[in-house]
Amino acid sequence: MEHSDELYTYAGKILRVNLSTGKITTEPTAMYAREWLGGSGVAVKILYDELRAWVTPLEPANKLVFSAGALVGTPAPGACKMNVSTLGPMTGGWASSCSDSYVGGQLKYAGYDGIVVEGRAHTPVYLWVQDDQVELRDASRLWGKTTWETLNCIRSELGDRELHIVSIGPAGENLVRGACIIQDRGRAFGRCGIGAVMGSKNLKAIVARGSGSIRVAQPGRFMEAVARVRAMFDHARIRDSFRRYGTLFCLPRKQEVCGLCYKNFQDCSIPQELLTTIDPMRSVEKYEVSRRSFPGCVLGCGRELYISDGPYAGLQTESCQFEVVNTLQTRLAIEEPTFMFMANALCNQLGLDVDAAGGAIGWAMECYQRGILDKRDTDGLALQWGDAEVALELIKKIAHREGFGDILAEGCARAADLIGRDSAYYAMHIKGQDLYEPCRGSNGWLLGTVTSTRGGGHTTGALVIETVPGLDPEKAKEVYGVDNLDRPLEYEGKAEAVLYMEAVSRMANCLGICLYSTTCLDVYQTDLPQMAELYSAATGWETSVDDLKRMAMRQLNLEKAFNLKFTEFDRRHDMPTPRDLSEPIPSGNLAGWQIDLAKYNRMLDRYYELHGWDKESGYPCRETLVDLGLECVADDLERIGKLGSLPGMCGKPA
């Protein structure tokens, strides 16, 4: 592999693959690395600059950017993430999703930091990247196959049982708005419908294998930093639980703090009997076959399970994360404890985001409960809460856009528009993206989720830490800069803490570091100072924490501008759902608690003020953009009338 003498920790090149023409070229990563780092940072720069305002998500002119984090390929703790970004079909704006991946590392060892996919292939293809040999291969016989079948077929065809791939399933092929991309069998680039964009391009899979190397600028300093950061995890309070169960260990705590979704958010905790019945940690103990972990990971949250009894006996799959418990199992009030593993496996096989499935099915079941939908709408299915087989049937119908599934495949927001009948109130979404996150009872989580540039989501700024068990308030104050993270019902200080987490989540993504190995989940884990040291040693470019914060804010502002270019989002879209605003928590430890609209608005004002965004519209102000080196973006926004400019309404960035 060629290696740039000047660019360390990067492979040095980005692939451009035009599926319409078959032309494959490269360009130097150095065009982007210094300012945009990697991952979603490089992606937003490419997509903002190159997509014309008239482009729509599922047409050939859209582009799909795969980018490995800057530290992927090294042993930096948790550095296994690859990111995929595009103009997304779920919100119509910024779409970005990352996943644990071997493919990102192999891509870098092959000599490429990322792939920009353009155009649309005339017939189905997959991309095979092997060092200098990059080719598009016929995927006609793979079209229609599940992601698991696709993995086996490609491994057989290329004669290597150890190959790693990312692929779409039938959901992506059928342009389901919530389609995702799966790495091998069990990890998803889940949110935003990026799988539908891949399907629209007739691209079934990407396979990468590399024999080259990644070098760092200061090897001794880098390895010392790696060792120091790994040692930090010995103090992490979540470490043992996380290693044993992954995020599933959060379930009892989420019940305590009313952080669960029951019957499509009709309640925020679940009946005690259901909690006892579904106990996922007991299932992990019972069915575990082996562990699952990814390059550089210090925690190791994955488990391979073999379900040996019950209705899904014979299923071998990776254990799910907590998200699936919330978005499918408790949301649909299903008692069968192994349903979560079956539903997760089925979604992974079909290439369907579990949250998009849960959001749409939860909305439909609530509409059925209230008589808004009946069997004439649902292909004769009785959508009763707790019916696991109906839920699995609906997942299949969504992925194949079959019958009623064709409506649900649009996501809950659009499905409600199609059905009408005052069903929109029960469509739980932010900016059109189905919401799995319970937003009542945790204000920092609420603010970060609702303001997320990619629509509802807790991984780009939400304060996950507010409801994680074992929080050390003193250390949390030192890390987050506010002293009330252990008091999730307070509003003050949460905007400041979200600003911090927006920086951590973006820098983790750009470097390829798993968010769950950062202070997002435990204040004793990787923080910005450790990221700065690892990146400085790896690149030879001295980079401070302030530099990282500035790059994070530059990226966030460009994501915001990307949304303003393609959507009508403004302050109204940074508000909680009508249900979250109008209904108090019905039962549990926080029974009666309700979001205070005036206090929420003051928290949002403060959030805009900290970002240098107009409080009335939510638009970035010129001064903010110029300070971040985005003067051209300010000009763009001014041209379309979306530059924050109200006198006295626009604060300076913190």
Partner: protein
């Protein structure tokens, strides 16, 4: 030589740091250690007792207090035992 490492999660960080020992860069393709998923869903460790032209022979990280693969392994004790067996078997073959 192939061994089963109980509780290995297949993260392959060992492969990355092994290559650093040999070439001062991260390049799993040249590593002396290789992690392979077995038919039961667990993982096996393959150690090179001699170079195949691409992969380097394992020298047990001569000169270091602890082999890098062990230092970066979540199941360090198990891997240490495998390296001990490997050293013993290799010596007996060479004898």
């Amino acid at each position: 030589m192939r061994y089963h490492l109980k509780d290995c999660g297949g993260c392959r960080t060992c492969e990355i740091v092994c290559s650093f020992h040999h070439v001062s860069a991260f390049s799993p393709a040249v590593s002396s250690i290789r992690i392979i998923e077995n038919e039961t869903g667990g993982f096996d460790v393959v150690l090179m007792d001699e170079s195949d032209g691409t992969r380097r022979a394992c020298d047990l990280c001569v000169g270091l207090d602890c082999p890098l693969c062990v230092r970066y392994c979540a199941e360090a004790e198990g891997l240490k035992e495998i390296l001990r067996q490997f050293a013993s078997q290799r010596n007996s073959v060479r004898d």
